[in-house]
């Protein structure tokens, strides 16, 4: 319990730190949303000043941070200049889409990587293992951007998948089942791109972790007792190798989040990525801050989840945190 509380407070501190940091960066920014208005002779400087005052941009930084914090507590996270509405609802819709994408691809990537890594570790140094190592190396060096664009070119030329967005035009008219089908079809491309972009890394780590454990004496003993190979690998070796893999799980969420930012833009998936890009180009201050905080929140959440899993999987942590 103490362990969990410690991790939780750590996560909260991290989030607070990130919010301060992003605010600091915004203070260093030379431009604001209202700069372009200044160019327009039809808008009086007083109007701009009034607008700045209305959004609180004329106040010093610490005050702005405090007022932003209070708006966070009211569930608003500041006010978007471009959309003229609170930031949080805007982000929530997009965040849902991003989460849909990242969670699906995280699960899929791990479901593929675990058996593949174990299979490879079992044949360490033999031909299939070496082929797979080459394969993952190749996958590792193909940039995400090239991967996503390549998939897109493939989809366009084959015409098998829809190539952008999240839903067909007639989405609203479809029955529930067809809606799901439509969504799944639209998800295929971005999910494939995301899975492929992390798969190589995961397979390599699973292979290394399992191969490390396979040499352990207790596994040799188990083998000597005649325990079947499959039970040996999945029931005995995998839990022993789980520790570094669970940490990797938290890390993989971060990789996927960064990756999804780009892939969402390339494949025009209506997630956080395109919104953030738009906000950056328009210098929509609070939307940018909100977007970054949301992604950090997911990342920290993923790491917290990994910590929880670790607590559940590794008895050493449990005994360490419960003093006798």
């Amino acid at each position: 319990m103490r362990y969990l509380l410690r991790r939780l407070s750590h996560a909260l501190l991290l989030l607070a730190g990130v919010s301060v940091l992003t605010f600091l960066f915004t203070a260093l920014a030379p431009g604001t949303y209202f700069d372009e208005m200044r160019m327009n002779p039809q808008i009086a400087p007083e109007t701009i000043a009034a607008l700045r005052a209305q959004y609180g941009l004329d106040k010093p930084l610490p005050l702005r941070y405090v007022s932003w914090l209070s708006s966070l507590l009211q569930g608003e996270m500041g006010f978007s200049f471009a959309y003229n509405s609170p930031v949080a609802p805007l982000l929530l819709v997009r965040a849902r889409n991003t989460l849909l994408l990242t969670i699906t691809s995280t699960l899929l990537a791990w479901m593929v990587a675990l058996p593949l890594g174990i299979w490879s570790a079992e044949r360490l140094g033999r031909l299939p293992d070496r082929l797979l190592s080459w394969g993952t190396a190749m996958l590792l060096v193909i940039p995400d951007l090239a991967l996503a664009l390549g998939l897109l070119v493939f989809a366009v030329r084959s015409g098998w998948f829809p190539t952008g967005g999240m839903a067909s035009i007639d989405f609203e008219a479809l029955s529930v089942f067809n809606k799901l089908r439509d969504l799944a079809l639209h998800m295929i491309l971005p999910v494939t791109a995301l899975v492929l972009s992390t798969l190589a890394l995961l397979v390599r780590h699973v292979r290394a972790a399992v191969a490390d454990v396979l040499n352990a004496p207790f596994l040799l003993a188990a083998l000597g007792h005649g325990i079947p190979k499959r039970t040996l690998l999945y029931r005995y070796a995998l839990p022993a190798a789980a520790n570094p893999l669970i940490s990797l799980f938290g890390f993989s969420i971060g990789v996927l989040l960064s990756g999804s930012l780009l892939i969402e833009v390339v494949m025009s998936w209506p997630g956080l990525g395109p919104l953030l890009l738009e906000a950056i180009l328009a210098r929509d201050l609070y939307l940018v801050i909100g977007g970054i905080l949301f992604s950090t929140f997911f990342l920290v959440g993923g790491n917290l989840l990994a910590d929880l899993l670790l607590y559940w999987a590794d008895p050493r942590i449990r005994t360490e945190s419960n003093p006798r």
Binding site: L145, T163, L277
Partner: protein
Amino acid sequence: MRVRRALTRWLVVLGLLHGIVICAGFFAPYDPAEQDRKSPYLPPMRLHLLDSQGHLHAHPFVYSLKLHKGSFDQYEEDTTEAQQVKFFVSGAGYRLLGFLPSRRHLFGTENARIYLLGTDAYGRDQLSRLLFGGQVSLVAGLLGAGITLLIGLSIGAVAGYFGGWRDTLLMRLAELFMALPWLYLLFAIRAFLPLTVSPLKAFFLIIVVIGTVGWARPARLVRGVVLSAKERDFVRAARGFGATNGYLLRRHILPETSSVLLTQAAILIPQYVLAEMTLSFLGLGVPEPVPSWGNLLSSLQQYSVLVSYWWMYLPAVVIVPFFLVYLGLASSLQERGDAYKIETRSLGNLT
């Protein structure tokens, strides 16, 4: 021994690839900004040895492309005249390595133009743009990695050597930076820098932004090395003889970090090249008309280009070897580092 041989091999290949990009002016047939307005979106030309009558030629040649009858963007080969590919031809002027003026190009044709990777919307040669774009992207990667390692080294050294509150503060900060999804962080910093600036300024801005984002991981690694190095006997002995902090760091402790720094460099450079590509692709990086690997691909964001002109995607394929070689280099460097560590540990056991 095996590790060292692999290392040499990767370094040689890396040197070759970089050499080609550095001497882009020589290897590229045209100037990257030179427009051929009459032939936008020309598909890649094929190198031939057999002509349309079935005769074998000693020199490779290409056919010029002409518009397909009744179409305005479909090209076909004009098989009436073979355009021989000549080597070491004279063409557009450039400065080799930035200062040697020259007009000599590795290959070219005399009467027509040759586009081995096709052309873009303005009829610019994609191959030339790819080669010159490499200069921008690779320099961004190298300088960015240099900045990161410099920051990482100084912060890691301070944290590891002096310890105490400095260590706690800096490592908490590092944790903060590592908690941010790095692409988002890159965006965040870029977001608040001026959007419309001259290409050169944008270029250096990008480098500084990319370079400052990634300092946390190298700093932690350096700190670890410094922590163990400062307890070594020879360091204590030197301190006993009255060596100052600056001297100890410079002479005894920082040299220990070289292996870690090299490995990190091999990991960071391709990562930063990628970062530059991503930013430029999204229009936040190096702007046109200067080519970079990112903005070469950015035309693919238009659906029509994606559908009709698949060769615009070729640059993405051509740059993969760079990343492959860097990965190979990084893993051999890591292996070397491990071997070195094992060596010193066993020596330590002996004494």
